[in-house]
């Protein structure tokens, strides 16, 4: 099947299905989908619309929201903290992507190989996945305690230290997961390709760059989307490790929103930041889909 989730191809396909003999198979009524759609609409779509609405109001959480027009959006544009936060969020995402992709890709490809000890190692690599993000953040919070931890340095008190700590902690937790994805992807690469390359005299590194990487293109896309969406939403790591500090140097967008909403009780402004986050996340996802052909990837996957 080569259908993407887009409308045009799907319609073509159902048309072709109908032409086949014996296609009069009972099909479920569309109503079956209704509970799921309603549930999702109520708890995800409606709140999103509500966030957009609230971004035009002033609301302190106690009274009723009052419309104030574009005031919050104006404030958003003028807020130097937003600029800093946006820049931080982008840097964090890029740094996390580089760190997690490089390590996970190499580990995953290696783990897909036949090494004798990889089963044992894979089990150890798995350990961070046993822990929730909160637990992982807590672990490093304890280990990085400036006076009683393992690394008794001012790691979380310096801007670069805190930033790198967040990137590292995120990587420590999620690299095993992405390694699994790459391991799965690498196993799907037909062995023939390597045999053919070996006959042509291609060395190991040549094989890696001209066979493994191109063949893993779709896996890389999947993993990238997950990393990007994941980094946009790092929250507990920041809350537990740095509370956005030192100063405001690790206050990424989700944290800024949390602070505006649940520390200063300016829920209108928090909603403006949230709406901005949704717009940014959607834009970024669309961009990634465009650049990498996420749709294509899905269809190849479905073809397998």
């Amino acid at each position: 099947m080569s259908a993407t989730l887009g409308k045009s191809t799907t319609l073509d396909e159902s048309a072709s299905l109908d032409k086949r003999p014996g296609a009069r198979v009972g099909r479920p009524h569309a109503v079956w989908a209704l509970p799921g759609v309603l549930f999702f609409t109520f708890f995800a779509i409606v709140p999103m619309a509500l966030a957009f609405y609230l971004s035009f109001t002033r609301w302190d959480g106690l009274g009723d929201p009052q419309l104030v027009g574009l005031a919050n959006w104006q404030k958003l544009l003028d807020d130097p903290r937003l600029t800093q936060s946006l820049w931080l969020t982008v840097s964090l995402t890029v740094a996390s992507w580089v760190f997690q992709t490089v390590v996970a890709l190499l580990l995953g490809v290696w783990a897909a190989g036949p090494q004798r000890n990889r089963a044992v190692l894979s089990a150890v690599f798995f350990v961070p996945l046993l822990l929730s993000s909160t637990a992982v953040a807590l672990l490093f919070y304890a280990l990085l305690d400036p006076n009683f931890g393992i690394i008794q340095k001012d790691t979380l008190g310096s801007s670069s230290g805190a930033f790198l700590a967040i990137v590292f902690v995120g990587g420590w937790q999620f690299i095993p997961f992405h390694t699994l994805i790459y391991q799965g992807g690498a196993r799907q690469i037909p062995q023939v390709l390597y045999q053919a390359a070996a006959i042509d005299g291609a060395g190991r590194y040549r094989q890696f760059f001209s066979i493994t990487l191109p063949q893993l293109r779709n896996t890389i896309t999947t993993s990238t989307v997950l990393i990007v969406v994941g980094s946009l939403t790092y929250f507990e790591t920041v809350l537990i490790l740095t509370k956005g500090g030192p100063g405001t140097d690790t206050a990424i967008l989700p944290y800024l929103m949390y602070e505006a909403g649940f520390k200063t009780y300016d829920f209108g402004y928090a909603s403006a930041i949230a709406s901005f986050l949704v717009l940014a996340a959607t834009g970024l996802s669309l961009l990634l889909v465009r650049l990498s052909g996420f749709g294509t990837m899905r269809s190849t996957r479905e073809g397998m």
Binding site: F39, G61, G63, P146, N147, F148, G157, G245, F262, T264
Partner: protein
């Protein structure tokens, strides 16, 4: 103390599970059962849930939110005493205490107050901290109740009762000890290096130099929490320009931040930070998690500018240190400053306020009256606190450290001015934004003049 708190916590939740008897649990499980159908019968499930009552469940039981730190056991004891008392039976119910972790007490209170499961009685700092609730008509005005009730009217020091007022009306009853900010020092470190508690800023700098030579951090500071940073500014501004400087800001004049005293105070802070007076790691040390108290108790830092609760915190975590080596002094004068050395900053005390939507106002008031009782005041004294009740002075001799209790009492009693902590005076919205600016100043991300400019722009 930790294990103590732990035990009572698990005891409570254990009982709730075993018998299903705790009202909070029952409400939750009822809703749970009702809600489990929500997957298939979404609307029905939600309507059923919506009809459930608030957190309390039974009409007789009221909930009280309290800041969950080491001092909470006094409230715990007070609640158990009250629940067994005739007054509780007469008002027909019980009080359930909910200990909210200190690090996010204010946001938890706010989100709960905005929901139907709001507490009936809640801990607060008076003044700015309850202003939004008063404006949203969520507080019981206690002025007339206090006026008509001799127990409440004569039970507390009038100045403390008034310190939490909003526009001359009472909304809270004092429920913890006085909390002036005090300069604590480690006696054995001071003795070892032949130091005296500083009475002037120059002496303080002189001490710092000697301590640093001995590789000891002069001051412990929980910089991640930021409010410990604030204490430095509060005292410096007071000593340099007097209490009027902040009074003007508190009254809503943001230009007050432009007073030269604020800039001078920020410059002194910057000098201290650059000089390493707080060590090199203070921006990642926390007070709330016990980091700063531990650094201080273990002798890694020689002094700690902190609220008077430092004593009970140390008594809880490092009892030997609290009993033998903890010293205390007033904040020193600053040369050419106009502020009186007897002035104090900090929190006069904490208050209980009553939610205007409480299910049982009589019960809530009866509970608040117990804060004036001798038994309650004695529990506070035993913990090392100085109560703000009228009978406090007589009880101090039984304090774990009568000397400290007496020092604290005199400090507050003789103070010409008691400036409320700036963040509490300004309220959560402005207070949090001010915290951000103070955090940047201490972290070296903004200069003193940038700090002043940023504060002027706070709205």
């Amino acid at each position: 103390m930790e294990s103590n708190r732990g035990r009572s916590y698990s005891g409570r939740s254990g009982a709730g599970q075993a018998t299903g008897g705790s009202p909070g649990n029952r409400a939750f499980s009822r809703r749970w059962v009702l809600g489990a159908g929500a997957a298939s019968l979404l609307t029905t499930g939600l309507t059923a849930c919506g009809s459930g009552s608030g957190a309390g469940g039974d009409s007789g039981t009221i909930t009280a939110f309290v800041y969950g730190d080491d001092a909470v056991k006094v409230q715990q004891a007070g609640v158990s005493r009250f629940n067994k008392s005739a007054a509780a039976k007469k008002a027909g119910g019980k009080v359930e205490l909910q200990k909210v972790p200190g690090s996010d007490y204010s946001p938890k209170l706010r989100t709960a107050m905005g929901s139907p499961s709001a507490p009936d009685v809640f801990f607060n700092w008076g003044g700015g901290s309850i202003k939004p609730y008063q404006e949203a008509d969520k507080l019981v005005d206690l002025t007339d109740i206090i006026e008509d009730d001799p127990v409440l009217k004569d039970g507390f020091l009038p100045s403390v009762l008034a310190a939490g007022d909003l526009k001359g009306r009472h909304y809270g009853i004092p429920m913890r000890g006085m909390q002036p900010v005090i300069l604590f020092y480690n006696k054995s470190v001071f003795a070892e290096h032949k130091l005296q508690p500083p009475t002037t800023w120059d002496q303080l700098l002189d001490n710092n130099a000697k301590l640093k030579k001995a590789k000891i951090t002069p001051f412990a500071l929980g910089g991640t929490d930021i409010w410990p940073d604030l204490m430095w500014l509060e005292y410096l501004v007071d000593r340099i320009g007097g209490p009027e400087v902040f009074r003007r800001i508190q009254d809503g004049d943001a230009e007050g931040w432009g007073d030269p005293a604020v800039l001078r105070a920020a410059e002194l802070v910057k000098e201290l930070v650059d000089d390493g007076a707080f060590g090199s790691k203070f921006t990642s040390v926390s007070y709330v998690n016990g980091g700063a108290p531990a650094v201080f108790a273990k002798g890694k830092a020689a002094m700690h500018l902190m609220g008077s609760w430092e004593y009970s915190t140390q008594l809880g975590k490092f009892p030997d240190f609290a009993r033998k080596n903890l010293g205390w002094a007033a904040f020193p004068t600053v040369e050419d400053g106009t502020g009186d050395v007897r002035n104090v900053v900090g929190n006069p005390t904490n208050y209980w306020s009553i939610n205007s939507r409480t299910r049982n106002k009589d019960l809530a008031i009866a509970f608040l009256r117990t804060c004036a009782s001798e038994a309650y005041a004695k529990d506070l004294v035993d913990l090392g606190d100085v109560p703000t009740t009228s009978n406090a002075a007589e009880l101090l001799s039984s304090a774990p450290n009568p000397e400290f209790a007496r020092f604290q009492y005199d400090l507050v009693e003789k103070a010409p001015a008691f400036t409320l902590s700036w963040d509490q005076a300004l309220g959560d919205g402005l207070g949090t934004k001010m915290h951000t600016e103070i955090g940047k100043l201490f972290a070296g991300q903004s200069s003193p003049s940038e700090f002043v400019a940023a504060c002027k722009g706070l709205k």
